[in-house]
Symmetry: C2
Subunit: 226 residues, 2 copies
Amino acid sequence: MIRLRNVVKLYRAGSVVVPALRGITLDIERGDFVSIIGSSGSGKSTLMNIIGCLDRPTRGTFELAGHDVSKLSDDQLAYARGRQIGFVFQAFNLLPRMSALEQVELPLTYRGGKNQRRSAMKALADVGLGDRMHHKPNQLSGGQQQRVAIARALVGEPSVILADEPTGALDTKTTADVMDIFVRLNRVQGMTVIFVTHEPEVASYTDRVIQLRDGMIVSDTVATSP
Amino acid sequence: MIRLRNVVKLYRAGSVVVPALRGITLDIERGDFVSIIGSSGSGKSTLMNIIGCLDRPTRGTFELAGHDVSKLSDDQLAYARGRQIGFVFQAFNLLPRMSALEQVELPLTYRGGKNQRRSAMKALADVGLGDRMHHKPNQLSGGQQQRVAIARALVGEPSVILADEPTGALDTKTTADVMDIFVRLNRVQGMTVIFVTHEPEVASYTDRVIQLRDGMIVSDTVATSP
Ligand SMILES: Nc1ncnc2c1ncn2[C@@H]1O[C@H](COP(=O)(O)OP(=O)(O)OP(=O)(O)O)[C@@H](O)[C@H]1O
Ligand SMILES: Nc1ncnc2c1ncn2[C@@H]1O[C@H](COP(=O)(O)OP(=O)(O)OP(=O)(O)O)[C@@H](O)[C@H]1O
Ligand SMILES: [Mg+2]
Ligand SMILES: [Mg+2]
């Protein structure tokens, strides 16, 4: 479903070239529940942005559901992203002038269909923000903003969820509540879930842990317990 | 040194009043090493913003170094803040168009004095960003941006450091490196250090743990080991 072969990503900062990914080869199948761990700067967000079709590799190939993504136009890429992929950004990326409810409804308006307001309200209630729906981002705490970003990614029921440190701003109890949602989506609805996390407790919820170091995969371990 | 008596903070979101702090009474002395824990939305950032003179209580009194802060003008408050307090924001609050080095130099230009560039370079090297000095925030990973925010807060050698979840975006090893810096500043330089954290391992570095729930202090525990 997600297939990377020798993916390289080079950034340029002034005259310096930063090799953020130095040859990633990886397969992720439908219904997998994967975490990506690694130290700060090891390339996790860069890898997520490529898998989420928000950025393109410098070299190497990336196929999504059998299609070579490099052959898709930006429009086709945006369409695949909008339909298939829910993305929780490391910096949340909320729109500053919209309330939590409006932010979470937004992906649904692109899809059309009924009951958008009700689905958005449910998604916010599921992450414990039922009483914060009309708050704008600057009227929300850090962990509340993160949960709005999670609700927004989940509300359209995408087939793949990419979450970049989705519990980074949350305390232990709220983290456990959010992880229960992801586990249910994966086990019950068969959603493919890919996390970046630096918290070992969060990685332990997933079936498979991929470790990055300096832009390379150094280990890829499947949990053996059922 | 920091003295809060019955501090209340009310926010208004539309017609709703949110009681973010519901009567906080607290003393923090020079040289204390304190962490503030509590679930998402419990009022931690609100409390830090008041202690850091970035916001004022709705009711109650707040004294900083013996001065009633409510009697200070905004200018006097800004001066006290600039001189005394280093603040690491939960959302980092980096300036998007400045490089890491320029951001960290900025507090020093207000203070005057020599060797500003060298002090800024050292502060960045201390948090492991010696090779990222010329990157702008959008050319840095999440954890690198957080470390720029930390370096910026520390470079002017303030007497009080307020850090709102300063290791939230960092992996275990980088977290330990950053915590070693805070421990050294507290034990060796006598800096007053107040953290917000939701990570128990981070709270365990401090001498005293204050727990918030729904805008109230529910426990205030001093670690008994030396
Ligand atoms: N400007 C505002 N207007 C209305 N409500 C606000 C505003 N700012 C914060 N709040 C509310 O006040 C409460 C406390 O917010 P605060 O940011 O202090 O929480 P926190 O403990 O730092 O949470 P987190 O761990 O998620 O960062 C939250 O419930 C939040 O929704
Ligand atoms: N636009 C850019 N220009 C130059 N270098 C960049 C750019 N974006 C990222 N980098 C660099 O690429 C490397 C990988 O960044 P990435 O954001 O993928 O790390 P990460 O593993 O997500 O880190 P963190 O855990 O801190 O979020 C970092 O060293 C970073 O400085
Ligand atoms: Mg990242
Ligand atoms: Mg906060």
